[in-house]
């Protein structure tokens, strides 16, 4: 990563976009405290992640397709374990709320390992919401969901984020989804922020028909875009 600097505002949905290897997951790992940046600082709330890691991470949570919850534990056991790790108050009630919110009530006592990938994704999202994080990191959260479920989940995340004032950092390769969900996007390429702006206006500003066209340009001609070309 090189000179990457951004802010996720309260209640904002910020899309982090870019081709494979652009640095999206690396950025998320840094914010999660599992990868230390060579230089610079990460602040969550008013807390410096390097100096007050534990307190800062209490304010975050994440869901990613490459971080499934242990398959030998039931949905409820997983939510309880992670609820305890995040110090969630009134945990039993919170688990009930999330099981209802993500339509997981019938899987309460089912081991996560036997759930479909879409169901596991919903469990991961429920885990990510456990502590009502101020900063929520979602790495391709709807990648395993069918279109109808993905739409419901997007709506649910937007609703929760708006209600709790959660800032969301969202990565996705689904540009329609990004345009629908995100208030602002950052395009990453080779570890740098190439473009930033409103996902509905940004394509037009760069002479592209839509966000997907702009994404393809970022992937194929990053230098042209960085130098201000359309």
């Amino acid at each position: 990563m090189d000179g990457v600097s951004f802010e996720v505002r309260q209640g904002e949905m910020l899309g982090l976009l870019g081709p494979n290897g652009a640095g999206k997951t690396t950025t998320i790992n840094m914010v999660l405290g599992v990868l230390t940046p060579d230089a610079g600082a990460i602040t969550i709330g008013a807390l410096d992640l390097a100096a007050r890691r534990s307190e800062a991470l209490e304010l975050t949570n994440f869901a990613a397709v490459y971080a499934p919850l242990p398959g030998n534990l039931t949905v409820e056991q997983n939510l309880r374990v992670f609820g305890l790790l995040y110090g969630v108050a009134a945990l039993a009630r919170r688990i009930d709320e999330l099981l209802a919110a993500f339509d997981l009530e019938r899987f309460r006592r089912t081991r996560c390992g036997v759930l479909s990938s879409g169901e596991q994704t919903r469990v991961g999202l429920a885990k990510a919401m456990l502590n009502q994080p101020r900063l929520l990191l979602l790495d391709e959260p709807t990648a395993s969901l069918d279109p109808a479920t993905a739409r419901d989940v997007r709506a649910r995340i937007r609703e929760i984020a708006a209600r709790d004032g959660t800032g969301v950092l969202w990565t996705s390769h689904n540009m329609v989804e990004v345009a629908e969900v995100c208030d602002r996007v950052l395009f990453l390429s080779k570890g740098r922020i190439l473009l930033a702006g409103d996902p509905r206006r940004l394509p037009g500003e760069h002479g592209r028909a839509n966000l997907e066209e702009l994404f393809i340009s970022v992937a194929r001609e990053p230098l042209a875009l960085r130098d201000g070309g359309g």
Binding site: T25, N29, G33, V34, L35, A67, F82, L85, K127
Partner: protein
């Protein structure tokens, strides 16, 4: 079930061997406390080590590294959790081992007298140190390094003098043996069986060594964890597991 199944198999196997050996010595020497007792104590150490490593491997096998290390959990709390888990699992194993050895083979732990507690304490501490070294190796080298960890007790056992005195070792092995806390325990155990005095200072030295190793193992783990965070190993292990 896995907590005591292998323990029972071990105790039954070695219990039968000691019974068979006793038929040759008659009443002149009882192999039960010497041989079966040694097996049991060594098994205890192995269970303590595995108690730490198994709890860690559960996270490795479940591809749960990223989920756990991205929580507010402090690294000291994580290691304390592994040790606590080991205390619980090894205690279950110990109770089963002792029960089978006493009821089926007549092993009397009272034969070790007041030294039983220190024996178990030293072995427990060294088992914890070995367990922490084991998980450190896996954290540094990746999930595939799990196979380096399982044989660790077997590699150490010839130097720990579980079944024979330190004096029977070649000098270089004897030197290594003196650096291993379990060798003080097994020397003490054999001294009791032969009616010789146990030197508390030596056992105390073994305990101090074990404590030192626990401290060094924790330091090593913290350093390797820092390295893993600096280089992104934790995130990479999760990504590798999925791919």
């Amino acid at each position: 079930m896995p907590l005591f199944a292998w323990v029972v198999v071990d105790v039954v196997l070695w219990g039968l061997i000691t019974r068979y050996l006793n038929t040759f010595t008659g009443s002149s020497y009882d192999f039960v406390p010497a041989l079966l007792g040694a097996v049991l104590l060594w098994d205890f150490l192995t269970r303590v080590m595995q108690g730490v490593t198994m709890a860690f491997f559960e996270d490795v096998w479940a591809r749960n590294f990223l989920n756990v290390f991205a929580t507010p959990l402090r690294i000291s709390e994580y290691v304390t959790g592994l040790v606590t888990s080991s205390v619980a699992t090894s205690a279950v194993g110990l109770v089963v081992m002792v029960a089978v050895a006493m009821l089926v083979f007549g092993l009397r732990f009272t034969a070790y007298g007041m030294f039983l507690g220190p024996f178990l304490g030293v072995l427990f501490l060294f088992g914890i140190a070995l367990g922490i070294v084991g998980i450190t190796i896996v954290l540094r080298l990746g999930p595939a390094a799990e196979w380096f960890i399982w044989p660790l007790p077997a590699i150490i056992s010839p130097f720990a003098c579980v079944f024979y005195p330190v004096s029977s070792l070649p000098p270089w092995m004897g030197a290594v043996s003196r650096l291993l806390p379990p060798s003080y325990v097994f020397e003490g155990m054999r001294a009791i069986m032969l009616g010789r005095p146990v030197h508390p200072a030596l056992l105390l030295g073994g305990g101090a060594l074990a404590l030192l190793y626990v401290g060094l193992a924790c330091l090593l783990f913290v350093r390797v964890h820092r390295y893993a965070v600096r280089t992104g190993l934790i995130g990479r292990y999760s990504a590798e597991s999925v791919s």
